[in-house]
């Protein structure tokens, strides 16, 4: 049963090179598991950024050189001088003892920066630490590996800290500030979702050596600038829920065949990239048509993690879908799908069906209140 699915996925991708899963696409998997379009594009390894751009919705991801440089500078500052700042922060939060300072640089293996070599070296060093035969408390940029739906994904956390009592902690170094103990929830969420993939990958690595999942904490250590200064502080983020959600989604990823079966024969997202000038030769309208055939579930927070988000938002807007307004509104208006329908019910222009009658009454009431407040006449029936 597996082979035909792979063939179908390869056909969806077309001539382009396969894109491996990365922390970002795994985060998308956890954030919006119901989205068929995303699931298909990720599973087939299509280049979402290129497709979105050709469809007319270029995504600004990874393009802010400033944010990128700022992130790198902050991380370098935290790790400078033998991780001096980081150690201070981790001694405060993780209660690292004084002798726990050993540092292993896993950025490359003696000058060799290839993923496979680094993965093997990382596995060796981390297993030694877990089994108590090697030393190491701070592991700088280990290379973890996860198999996702039969495809390999390389994941690279900023740092893994290992406490003597035998637990690994994923440490994420981010440059958004924690002000008065509070940080932007959206950014914290995207940082923890990324870290979840690392937790799962690290657990998978240890499991091969017979070490149970409790060796990796599902509490993430977030290191970020404190208040308005440039000095780092750390906070624990509980990622239990996200870890289990992502674990479940990864286990279900095999079900991609069910989705593929629903697609029309011959559908492809191939851009037909010209070998010489690197431009897509496929007409944009044709690509748009192909995309239209696959249902997408847009949510505003897709903008944080999915390259297709702008395309999906435009599509949701064109359909006047309530998705654009986010899950809070969507849940309030259960059973109603579009803005047109909600407005129609509120104005009494549409007759509600039996299961919409409660909602329609609530909407009419809201419309009446609004009309009273704004002094308008005639909105409500």
């Amino acid at each position: 049963m597996k082979a035909p699915v792979d063939d179908r996925l390869a056909a969806l991708r077309g001539s382009a090179k396969r894109r491996p899963y990365n922390a970002r696409s795994l985060a998308a998997l956890e954030n919006n598991p119901r989205c068929t379009l995303r699931a298909l594009l990720d599973a087939s390894g299509s280049d979402k950024a290129a497709i979105a751009e050709h469809a007319g919705y270029p995504s600004p991801f990874g393009q802010s050189a400033f944010a990128f440089a700022r992130g790198n500078t902050f991380e370098a500052m935290v790790k400078d001088n033998g991780c001096a700042e980081l150690l201070r922060v981790l001694r405060e939060t993780l209660k690292l003892t004084l002798p726990e300072v050993a540092y292993r640089d896993l950025n490359d293996v003696g000058g060799d920066g290839r993923n496979e070599t680094r993965r093997d070296h990382t596995a060796e060093v981390l297993l030694q630490a877990a089994q108590g035969t090697g030393d190491g408390t701070l592991f700088d940029h280990p290379m973890l590996y996860l198999e996702v739906g039969g495809q390999e994904a390389f994941l690279e956390p900023d740092l893994v800290a290992f406490r003597i009592d035998g637990r690994f902690y994923i440490v994420e170094i981010k440059s958004f500030p924690i002000i008065d103990g509070q940080a932007d929830p959206a950014q914290v969420r995207s940082a923890t979702t990324q870290a979840c993939a690392y937790v799962i990958a690290l657990r998978a690595l240890l499991e091969e050596a017979g070490i149970g999942p409790e060796a990796v904490s599902d509490t993430i250590v977030l290191v970020a600038p404190k208040d308005f200064t440039n000095r780092p502080t750390a906070a624990f983020v509980d990622a239990r829920k996200q870890v289990s959600a992502l674990t479940r989604q990864l286990a279900r990823i095999e079900r991609i065949s069910d989705l593929v079966d629903l697609l029309p024969e011959g559908l492809t997202f191939d851009l037909d990239i010209d070998k010489d000038n690197k431009r897509p030769r496929r007409p944009a309208e044709e690509l748009a048509e192909a995309l239209e055939q696959v249902p997408a579930t847009y949510r505003p927070d897709c903008l944080n993690h999915c390259e297709m988000a702008f395309y999906c938002r435009a599509r949701a807007r064109a359909e006047a879908s309530l998705d654009v307004l986010g899950p809070a509104v969507r849940e309030q208006l259960g059973g109603i799908d579009t803005v047109t329908m909600a407005l129609g019910l509120a104005r009494g222009q549409l007759t509600p069906t039996a299961d919409q009658s409660d909602m329609a009454a609530a909407l009419r009431h809201a419309a009446r209140l609004r009309a009273e407040l704004t002094g308008e006449v005639g909105g409500a029936a």
């Binding site: 004084l98 293996v109 003696g110």
Partner: protein, 279 residues
């Protein structure tokens, strides 16, 4: 303490003692290695003495505006050498520049340092031993490959140039002590320590347990170099044994498996031959 000559003399006498011990123990291999190091150290001492007195340093292309104090006209590698001698540990370019700005006159930029690192190895390979000292990278304890981010001095012992798991912290604490000593010395001079020096010391002290003054009011003025030294020494004692053992083990391995120039510039990088297929 800030005088590199003092440090060199100290290392020369340590080396002499080590040679005596080694030949007494009948370890000829180690003794001859140490002798080579001693010769390098003595050459460096001679060269420094020459460079120091009448300062016949090569003229810099851009003349300095002010006839700055002694040594400001030295070439970049001399600046680096001096900063490293003060620290006494392998250091990243950023820290070297920081130490230089805090304690020495003249200009040194991080960009100059990166070109310097390339030149050092080339110069050594073209005529080994022509210069009194070189500035090779530190060596990783496991694979003995170069740790590109850290600069050392060739006259240091192999143990000093190797980076084990504990070494980053040990070197940080050692550096803190040396900087605190330098600040302390400067405090007794007429001009006192520069603001850069105090800031550098503060950056180190905040990350050492118990190194900051107890009262939470005013930081920088109240910073006490002796307290920093004490606190750093206290933590250093915790790590020293583990670190020394790792460095000693790695340097034994290096002496056995690496050639002379590899002991300076590291074992060949792994995977340099595996260039990407597309490149």
């Amino acid at each position: 303490m800030s005088d590199p000559l003092d440090a060199l003399e100290k290392s020369i006498s340590t080396l002499r003692r080590a040679i005596r011990d080694a030949s007494a123990a009948g370890d000829t291999e180690r003794a001859s290695e140490l002798r080579a190091q001693l010769r390098r150290a003595e050459r460096a001492w001679d060269a420094l003495l020459d460079a120091d007195e009448p300062a016949p340093a090569p003229p810099r292309p851009v003349p300095e505006a002010a006839p700055a104090a002694r040594g400001s006209q030295l070439p970049a590698r001399e600046h680096v050498h001096r900063a490293l001698m003060l620290l006494g540990t392998p250091a990243a370019p950023k820290l070297i520049v920081g130490v230089h700005e805090a304690f020495f006159p003249g200009e040194l930029s991080a960009s100059k340092l990166s070109s310097l690192r390339r030149d050092e190895e080339r110069s050594y390979r073209s005529s080994p031993g022509a210069r009194p000292y070189y500035l090779p990278p530190a060596l990783a304890h496991d694979l003995l490959t170069p740790v590109r981010a850290l600069v050392t001095i060739s006259t240091w012992t192999l143990e000093q140039r190797i980076i084990g798991p504990h070494s980053p912290r040990v070197d940080f604490l050692t550096g803190a002590i040396r900087i605190a000593e330098a600040v302390h010395t400067a405090a007794q001079s007429r001009s006192g320590p520069s603001p850069e020096a105090l800031r550098l010391l503060w950056r180190f002290a905040v990350n050492i347990p118990d190194a900051m003054p107890k009262s939470a009011s005013g930081h920088e003025n109240a910073l006490d170099p002796e307290q920093v030294i004490e606190a750093a020494q206290a933590e250093l004692d915790v790590h020293a044994d583990a670190d020394r053992a790792a460095r000693a083990e790695a340097s034994r391995r290096a002496r056995k498996s690496l050639s002379d120039d590899q002991q300076l510039f590291g074992a060949p990088s792994q995977g340099v031959t595996h260039l990407r297929a597309r490149a």
